[in-house]
């Protein structure tokens, strides 16, 4: 019973918290904060509770739950967790928890903020658990509104512009996804009743069966519509322009969520929907995917290098890092009718791990930027310098997290990048070299940044006097993130053990269709 | 007989078209209402002519009766509104009402 309803409980625990907050008086700020924090902690604990019951050897969906929602359209409230989604669920509740801790820096209209925050968490968790396409779509959009308001109300000076840009990009992507959704729905058939379905599991089966779900032409359309929708979220060049603005304007905790979780939904969507349903199109388009990935890596890195705004730099680094994800999943290789090539599996594994690693490290990087911004109220790299002298602990933690982002061996960023580049080597050597050079570029701009911000002469910029040591709260957040960045880097199998069977199932299933070409 | 029906329909058409043109070109609110009356009357001519010449039968006459009554009701309200407008603007020129634009 508990097992069966656990996913539902996880999704709606934050919602319940939000309703609770709604009923609380808005003057009691501390009470509100602690309630919200409790809710995120509970959610995190609930997600951890998934682990004991999770069968690592099982590739398919676990914790499945299905209830009729709109029966005459065959829309179900259908949840499930497999190896691909489980790590991301954990990441979500984890990052949300620490983002909530980081939210102590928010002072304006705290009640609304916390409510929206919790609603956002519901949406994110829902996306990772939904196994009904319609439900997936609904959850996908659910985070849109809270995010919009979180950026729009609590953001920086250009918050309005950034928020609407984020909103429009995402909505545009959603609309494309909706078209694909309709295409898929009207070409689907329930194996027994022959009615149209939204059930992703059945759709996947159909797509990988003999008949295929869509004909190749339709697959091309559906895939690219879906891909654009998801690529906007990832974000891949050329759909990335919303990201720097959104990040720069968003408050620190929201940046953490944005970078740590939201971007991953794009990659997850590709793996969960676009790939299994349109294998033929994936096969045809793999080169383009890889190219997009590589371009994102390089472009993001160069763009990051050119920034003078600290946060913007981190944002572009996200573009660059998420490029590895696209690259990793795009290195399609097929051995035989039911086996995908090892390098493809490795690529996807790498991409998944990159998502996790980046989730932790980028959240940490944004948090670190936030810490200093809270003190000096600017992010101009050219005015920084010499923070190390004033805030040694902060400098240390920052350096650790930035190294994790850089991909230093032994830290989380390394595993994903290496896996992806290695698999890309099998796919195309030139691209692999280019992608690998991205690593160097990354190292370049991150080290340069570290030098500009932390080293050098003592800080003489604005608000010099405000540079107080880190608070305990900040220390905990930074410390925990750093620790996890290291743990992931040292014990990657902690996550791989969950992912590998599911990814194998995914790729092998797709291989069947591709091999027929 | 058919020629005759056509004749009536043509008269109806003349009235209808006159009414439409009147509605479209006149700026005076009441003149526009006159156009409306013409349009309704054109339709009425059609109905009565059809009533005489086709299987529509008496239905046509009854419809035209209702139309006459409804036109009266509509005219009453329209005039009340037009007078109200006049009270507020001291003119009945529809284009003078330019507070609402777009």
């Amino acid at each position: 019973m508990f097992q069966e309803h656990l996913p539902t409980l996880i999704i709606f625990a934050p919602t319940i918290g939000a309703v609770l907050l709604m009923l609380m008086p808005k003057d009691n700020e501390e009470g509100l904060r602690y309630t919200a924090l409790t809710v995120t902690i509970v959610t995190f604990i609930l997600t951890l509770a998934l682990l004991p019951g999770f069968d690592m050897s099982e590739a398919g969906m676990q914790y499945t739950y299905s209830a009729e929602w709109i029966p005459n359209w065959n829309i179900n409230y259908q949840l499930g967790i497999d190896g691909i989604s489980l790590p991301l669920i954990l990441l979500t509740s984890f990052i949300s928890l620490w983002a909530m801790v980081a939210s102590w820096s928010i002072t304006k209209q705290i009640k609304g903020y916390l409510i929206l925050f919790l609603l956002l968490e519901t949406g994110m968790l829902g996306v990772f658990m939904a196994t009904d396409f319609f439900l997936f779509y609904v959850f996908w959009e659910v985070m849109l509104l809270p995010m919009y308001f979180l950026i729009g109300i609590w953001g920086g000076p250009r918050k309005e512009y950034a928020a609407i840009k984020f909103f429009l990009y995402t909505l545009f992507g959603s609309v494309l996804m909706l078209v694909a959704l309709l295409m898929i729905y009207f070409n689907s058939h329930h194996p027994e009743s022959n009615e149209h379905i939204f059930d992703l599991l059945l759709l996947t089966d159909a797509a990988q069966g003999n008949e295929g779900l869509l004909n190749p032409v339709m697959q091309q359309w559906a895939f690219w519509l879906l891909f654009i929708g998801f690529a906007i979220k990832i974000p891949s060049v050329p759909f990335h322009t919303w990201l720097p603005d959104a990040h720069v304007e968003a408050p620190t905790p929201i940046s953490m969520i944005l970078a740590g979780v939201l971007l991953k939904m794009g990659g997850y969507g590709i793996l969960r929907i676009a790939f299994p349903l349109c294998p033929v199109a994936v096969f045809d388009g793999s080169t383009v995917l890889v190219a997009i990935g590589v371009i994102s890596i390089i472009y993001g890195a160069f763009a990051a290098m050119a920034q003078t705004d600290f946060k913007r730099l981190v944002a572009y680094s996200s573009v660059s890092h998420m490029g590895y994800v696209v690259l990793g999943i795009g290195v399609v290789g097929v051995v035989s009718a039911d086996t995908a090539s090892d390098y493809w599996k490795m690529g996807i594994n790498g991409a998944m791990f990159q998502m996790l690693g980046h989730g932790v490290s980028s959240a940490g990087m944004f948090f670190m930027v936030g810490v200093v911004y809270d003190r000096v109220h600017h992010r101009n790299l050219n005015e920084f310098g010499g923070l190390a002298g004033k805030m040694p602990l902060y400098t240390g933690l920052s350096a650790g997290i930035f190294f994790a982002g850089l991909g230093l061996p032994g830290m989380c960023g390394f595993i994903g990048e290496v896996f992806v580049v290695l698999s890309a080597w099998q796919f195309s050597k030139i691209l692999a070299i280019v992608a690998a050079s991205g690593v160097i570029l990354t190292a370049g701009y991150i080290l340069w940044t570290l030098q500009r911000v932390y080293l050098g002469a003592e800080y003489k910029g604005p608000h010099e006097e405000a540079l107080t040591p880190m608070l305990a709260r900040e220390r905990i957040v930074a410390g925990v993130l750093l620790v996890f960045a290291i743990i992931l880097g040292v014990f990657p199998n902690l996550m791989f053990q969950y992912m590998i069977p599911s990814i194998q199932k995914l790729t092998d299933g797709m291989a069947g269709q591709m091999a027929g070409l | 007989m058919d020629a005759s029906l056509t004749n009536y329909l043509l008269i109806g058409a003349v009235m209808f078209v006159s009414g439409v043109v009147c509605m479209a070109t006149k700026r005076n609110g009441i003149a526009v209402l006159m156009g409306v009356e013409l349009v309704l009357n054109g339709a009425n001519v059609n109905f009565v002519a059809f009533s005489r010449h086709t299987s529509l039968g008496l239905d046509g006459q009854i419809v035209s009766l209702f139309v006459i009554v409804l036109a009266a009701a509509e005219a009453a309200v329209a005039l009340a509104i037009a007078l109200n407008f006049y009270n507020n603007y001291q003119t009945i020129d529809v284009d003078r009402g330019d507070k609402l634009q777009g």
């Binding site: 359209w73 959009e141 729905y185 | 109905f47 509509e74 109200n84």
Partner: protein, 548 residues
Amino acid sequence: MLANSINQLITDLPTQIGSDVTAFLSELVLCGTVVALLLGRLLGIDRKMPGHWIAMAGTLIAFGIAFGNVYANGPDAYQVGEDAQLFSGLLVNDGLTVFFRLFLLVFLVLVIALTVLSGIPDNEDGPDFYTLLIGATIGMMLMASANHLLMLFLAVEMASVPSYVMVGFLKGKRLSSEAALKYVVYGAGAAGVMLYGTSLVAGMLGTGQLHLVAEKLRDLLTSEVGVGTDMSTAAVRTIVLGVMMILVGLAFKLSLVPFHFWCPDAFEGAPAEVGGFLSVASKAAAFALLIRVVHQLTGFGDLAVPLAIGLGVIAVVSSTFGNLAAYFQTNVKRMLAYSTIAHAGYMLTGVVAMLVALEDGNQMLATDCVEGVLFYLSVYLFMNLGAFAIVALIRNRTYSEEIADYRGLKNECPWLCVMMAVCLFSLVGLPPLGGFVAKFFVLAPVWEAASIHWSMGVLVGFALLNTVFSLFYYLKVPVAMFIVDRPEDARPARTGSTEAVFVLLLTAPILLLGMSPLISKLSLAAERVAHDTITVPDGARTSTSPEK
């Protein structure tokens, strides 16, 4: 001999009329309410018992009867085909009628409640206002049940003429009187054109009854006279002309481009309460009528598809134009007016797809289309009325309906602002709000119809693009409310808790229809209705339970 048979008829009449009257009881109760309102004033009761109580009581009784009818007799309360005809074929009492009767009565209750809260008709004008309101509603209910070309015109007039007055209800205000004048001028013209079209159709086919129209049309086009479905044939041309004129009248009621001029002006000048009423009720009734009329045109054969494409173009242009124009508005009511134009366009796509599907013989798809439109209207009721209600309530505090004056309201009346955001985002069509599900239900069948005719896919494309675009202007209000700070010199706008509760009541269904199992309840009901509506002409009711 003849006299005897007439006597016979006279004695038969009561029994026959009796059953008709039972089915018509809700409308009659509303008529009685109108009389009661006037008597109340005459006898001076309105001092002790304000008009809105009488109106509310009457509406609730009417709703009780309508609902009880459905509830007591189960889902088969209404009949289908010939049996459903009332008053010797002037009206039909089928599922569509029942649906819209309940729809309009619920809506009327909400509107009356809103007017009580916002106090736009003061006690003195109350009876007048509610008389007009109920009178217009009766007309709209007749529109939904009209089965005769005369009733079509009569119902449209009954719905329109009181609306003209309601738009000009603030008679001392220049804007209001101007709005009323523009509305009446355009409205009367459109009604006239529609009547002329009616006369051509009725005359050509020799009948006024809608189901006979369809029958005779089919006879005519397939008859040995050799009329065919060729536009070169005069008879066909005449009918097409007539049908187009009828559609012009309906398009006017639906404020579709290019017959939309009145809409922004009327809505801006009218009190927000009236705007809310007109934007939902008259649109719903017009859609009911449109579905009926279009449904009769399936005999058109080859002409149906061009007609559908024509309507489709109108739908696209309406939604695009509405959204574009709305962007430039500074007045909330005016913006919402343009938004109603756009939404009419969205819903019209459903009707267009229905026509295409019917022409293809795919009744199941046509059912889905109608279902989508019905569902959309149901959600639209709450989201649009909610938006207008909030505009009205805020106007009562700030005396302004400019978006600029909504700046920073979130601190003053957080509930209203949140609910306004819910309504507006639902209008955009964002999950998990009802607007999304509604849009999905309309657009999904249209998309499926693309396999019949490619143009339907274009319709969906435009609708989706418009959805993205509509975000720009809908967002202006939440942006003003939440993101911008309140100017120093702004009026205080604190609202009471009654208002908040009422607004909550209005917006709760939007949320429920977006994510609760209620969706399935409503969509099943809508599907039933749609199923019966669509399959009627084939005679017998195929099955009592909808199959899918």
